[in-house]
């Protein structure tokens, strides 16, 4: 569960419940069926969880059945050279602008990362539906636990857009950029095992010219990455190690010109990135659009379209723009669905995937203490979570359970989610933790009677004149709900407050209404103080690694509940310990993790959502089936990844309704 602050902002600024991605790990479908090579064909069969290779939670499968698996348009595609008619038009519904910093080591915005995926570079090693590394990518990956080394072997000949061959020296160069003392991006991260590379400490301190732990073979096609600390079991999962190369011959002159510090402003990190993806950036209109031309030497074959135009538009406009035939492909928001069902357009269809984002409802139980210091007052450790000391009733587990059991996620999943959302039965998310989710678990269900019973049994039986329960000392108690406004919260918040009133708990909005987004972040996220807000929901982009430490460790900045306990920390420790290399042990640890959340309710996951993409009928070969070949071939065109070389167009302009 790796996430970047900026991505967090992106997610939340759009909707708490819409998909987004993570910069270097991309979303994926969950099937192993081969992709359709042309339009038409048999519907893709999904494999249910527990059946072996490709687990998916049955509830998600059910929701996915509402959508086609791929386009069934078998008209002949427009030939290459058809000019502007054969340009794939992609609409990105967003409320922000295009930042335009595409370089893989530096980008921090989901849209930038998607452009990098198309026109730049991507991970050299592929992964399967369980997010485990496979040997089907550009390079193979071998993990030697004894020697604590990762061995990469290039099995394919790949060329950069300018014809220079790609070698593992380019990956070494990526590490040299990330580890440089003047590096300005966010990838120097323990979650990518970058600081753990042998010799990185010296290089990062400026004491060495090269990283001694990166050992290339003579032909630059084998790379051994030596690590200092033992690699954690999460290394088994895709996205846990940095594996995206950066073209040395292209970026090194740029660095010579502006230095590492200025690289993110250099045009070669922006409009003129060099990659090996299926498309090449032709023009960028700052903040608005990107036009890409096909890369005829792409490793999987030449693209079928004469160009890709990516344009940004306000997300409210997506349904009408799709209906008018302005775009071929556009990411859809669940909030747009009402309009979809109102018009029932026939010129485009919707495709769905399990979303790589989620919303967690947190109960705030503390703040951060002072950072750990040595005798001289130097900071030597991160600040740790400190429980609030005023014993506010939110610290009482019965209160939290009652609050949680009174959240009617089913209704919101039905109304706002149009039955395509599933009230999450677990704190784990099927996007990255599919193999660990116990499909028989019910989780926290909506049950007002149960909530009442929990409160009565815990001793909250006295009530005031208005019927609200008093706390155990007989004093008034109330809780503060802080939330920004969006289509989901506009319905969820009034419903929650009403349900909580029904069980006798007084919950009031922070300052009487929905909060400004910036104020919300300042009050709950970017503060070490005990927040005046007790209940709030926050959206997250998910990485492929299910390790919950980055959200729940007692030193994690994103521990939004500011919660920790010995039992809680023990499970987190177990998940990262060497024992967890044992699959059964790890599965058991995750099972205890789910159980812990069920019993102690420091937070609960809101819903599992689907990402939606609208695809015009003139598009062919669009499919949500992922191919395990190193690139997120057609199946992965979520909001993260919009096009690929197999997509073709069968009419001279998008169909209008």
């Amino acid at each position: 569960m790796k996430k970047l602050v900026i991505l967090l902002l992106v997610v939340m600024a759009v909707f708490a419940a819409c998909g987004n991605n993570d910069g270097d790990g991309y979303g994926e479908g969950r099937q192993e069926t081969p992709p359709p090579t042309g339009g038409g064909g048999e519907p893709v069969e999904f494999v249910e969880a527990g059946d072996g290779d490709s687990p998916m939670h049955p509830a998600l499968l059910e929701a996915l059945r509402a959508f086609p698996a791929y386009t069934t348009n078998d008209a002949p595609v427009l030939p290459r050279g058809s000019g502007t008619d054969n340009i794939l038009r992609i609409g990105v519904g967003t409320s922000s602008t295009l930042i335009g910093l595409f370089l893989g080591t530096h980008n921090a915005d989901a849209n930038d990362a998607s452009i990098n995926e198309l026109a730049g570079s991507y991970s050299l090693v592929s992964w399967d539906a369980n997010n485990l590394w496979t040997q089907n990518g550009i390079a193979t990956l071998e993990l030697d636990r004894e020697a604590n080394v990762i061995i990469l072997n290039m099995q394919e000949y790949v060329y950069w857009h300018d014809g220079v061959p790609l070698t593992l020296d380019d990956l070494v160069f990526a590490y040299e950029i990330i580890g440089h003392p003047e590096y300005t991006g966010q990838r120097f991260s323990p979650e990518l095992q970058v600081p753990n590379v042998r010799g990185m400490a010296e290089y990062h301190a400026g004491q060495a010219d090269y990283i001694s732990g990166l050992v290339l073979s003579n032909n630059n096609r084998t790379l051994r990455i030596y690590y200092v600390d033992p690699l954690p079991p999460s290394t088994l999962f895709a996205g846990s190690v940095w594996l995206q190369p950066i073209p040395r011959h292209w970026i090194e002159p740029a660095i010579a010109e502006v230095g590492h510090y200025g690289l993110q402003g250099h045009i070669r990190a922006r409009d003129q990135i060099l990659g090996f993806g299926p498309f090449i950036i032709e023009t960028v209109v700052a903040g608005e659009s990107v036009f890409m031309i096909p890369n005829d030497n792409y490793r999987q074959g030449a693209p079928l379209v004469d160009g890709v135009l990516v344009e940004l538009l306000p997300f409210e406009m997506v349904p009408s723009a799709m209906r008018a035939g302005d775009f071929d492909i556009a990411a859809y928001q669940t909030a747009n669905l009402s309009e979809f069902y109102l018009h029932n357009p026939t010129n485009y269809s919707l495709f769905g995937w399990p979303a790589g984002a989620t919303t967690i409802i947190n109960f705030r139980m503390g703040g951060f203490g002072e950072p750990e210091t040595d005798d001289d007052g130097n900071v030597i450790g991160a600040a740790r979570v400190q429980a609030r000391d005023d014993d506010h009733p939110i610290m009482n587990v019965a209160i939290r359970r009652a609050l949680a059991h009174s959240i009617d996620r089913e209704t919101i999943a039905h109304t706002v989610g149009h039955d395509m959302w599933i009230p999450a039965p677990s704190i784990l998310h099927p996007f990255n933790a599919s193999p660990f989710i116990d499909i028989n678990r019910q989780g926290i269900v909506f049950d007002l009677e149960l909530s009442n019973r929990i409160l009565d049994e815990a001793g909250f039986t006295q009530r005031d004149a208005e019927g609200y329960r008093l706390d155990l000392d007989g004093n008034h108690m109330y809780f503060v709900y802080g939330q920004q406004s969006n289509p989901t919260h506009d319905q969820l918040v009034p419903l929650n407050i009403q349900n909580w009133r029904e069980i006798g708990l007084r919950v009031e909005m922070f300052e009487g209404g929905f909060m400004d987004w910036g104020l919300f972040l300042d009050t709950v996220a970017f503060t070490d103080e005990v927040s005046p807000i007790h209940i709030f929901a926050m959206g997250w982009a998910l990485g492929m690694n299910p390790d919950p430490a980055s959200l729940w460790a007692d030193t994690a900045q994103f521990n939004m509940s500011r919660y920790s306990s010995p039992g809680f920390a023990q499970i987190l420790y177990d998940i990262q310990s060497a024992n967890a290399w044992d699959a059964a042990f790890l599965a058991d640890a995750y099972d205890r993790w789910e159980q812990y959340f069920y019993e102690n309710v420091p937070a609960l996951q809101f819903t599992w959502n689907l990402d939606l993409v609208a695809v015009n009928n003139r598009v062919t070969n669009f499919s949500r089936v992922r191919v395990d070949n190193g690139y997120n071939e057609p199946g992965n065109m979520t909001t993260d990844s919009w096009a690929n070389h197999l997509i073709g167009l069968t009419a001279r302009s998008p169909y209008a309704n």
Partner: protein, 285 residues
């Protein structure tokens, strides 16, 4: 009182005003009685979320349900009552302040007048809407804060108007006579001057009421006013900011819109008639 007699006479010659005052009476009465009854029998803010607003036919109600499943007919009465209360509150308090400042300024004149009027001038220069929006965000959007901040920025015109009236009254012989007799100033103001200002207050009170309704609904509709948990006409009109609702779900925004327009029109006609009454040159009768 004299103004009401004159007003009745004026009404005979101004059918718009006559119709308006009858409609206004009906609207006000039905709103207050209706809201009282509905509040007693229903919880209008009880939410049952829906995918989309439910039409009158589908829901079997007079004006359908909004997206939160609330009965729009019931909501309309309660919202209208709340909006009217807010408008009345703002108007009342801004007149209370305006009258006090204006009369003191006009009666005493000289330096007092100068100082008070410069304060009024300075206060009027503050960009009213912007500051109110910021203050509402900072101090929370509740009914008391709403009335407070709108009052804070709407009393100045009242003060200027009443100062002018007080200034002219001050020149009158009855004031001079009282002063010569040694009557305390406060008694002169309250017992002798104020009754002569009632005409102006009444006439402008009604016009200010219309403006206050407009400001409340405007701010709430744009999302700067009251929140979802307090029914008001502006909050109901917020639905009209959603293009999809505007196009397909007339019942969530048309009724409050019509009510606001009709009420404001009627109030304006009546207010204009009242104002004419206070100025002999403008009277029809």
């Amino acid at each position: 009182m004299r103004i009401f007699k004159l007003f009745l006479r004026e009404l005979k010659h101004d059918y718009f005003a006559l119709v308006s005052i009858i409609m206004l009476a009906i609207i006000f009465l039905s709103i207050y009685i209706g809201a009282f009854v509905i509040d007693h029998f229903y919880d209008v803010m009880w939410v049952t979320p829906q995918r989309m607003p439910v039409s009158p036919e589908a829901s079997g109600t007079l004006l359908g349900l909004d997206v939160m499943g609330r009965n729009q007919f019931h909501l309309l009465f309660v919202a209208a009552r709340n909006s009217l209360n807010i408008a009345l509150g703002v108007t009342f308090f801004s007149f209370a302040i305006g009258l006090t400042v204006g009369v003191i300024s006009g009666f005493y004149g000289g330096r007092t007048d100068n100082v008070l009027m410069r304060i009024v001038d300075t206060w009027s220069m503050i960009p009213f809407l912007m500051v109110v929006i910021v203050l509402l965000v900072v101090f929370g959007r509740t009914v008391p804060t709403f009335i407070l901040f709108l009052t804070l920025f709407s009393w100045m015109t009242r003060a200027r108007l009443l100062r002018a009236a007080a200034l002219s009254q001050r020149q009158m012989d009855y004031i001079s006579a009282s002063k010569t007799l040694g009557t305390p100033n406060i008694v002169i103001i309250v017992r002798e001057m104020l009754p002569n200002l009632v005409d102006i207050v009444v006439a402008n009170f009604v016009l200010t009421l219309a403006a206050s309704i407009g400001i409340e609904t405007g701010l709430s509709m744009l999302g700067f006013g009251l929140g979802w948990d307090y029914p008001s006409l502006g909050v109901m009109l917020q639905n009209a900011t959603n293009p999809m609702y505007l196009q397909h779900f007339w019942w969530v925004w048309t009724p409050p819109l019509i009510l606001v327009v009709v009420t404001m029109l009627c109030v304006n006609f009546v207010g204009n008639a009242l104002q004419r009454v206070t100025d002999p040159k403008q009277r029809f009768a």
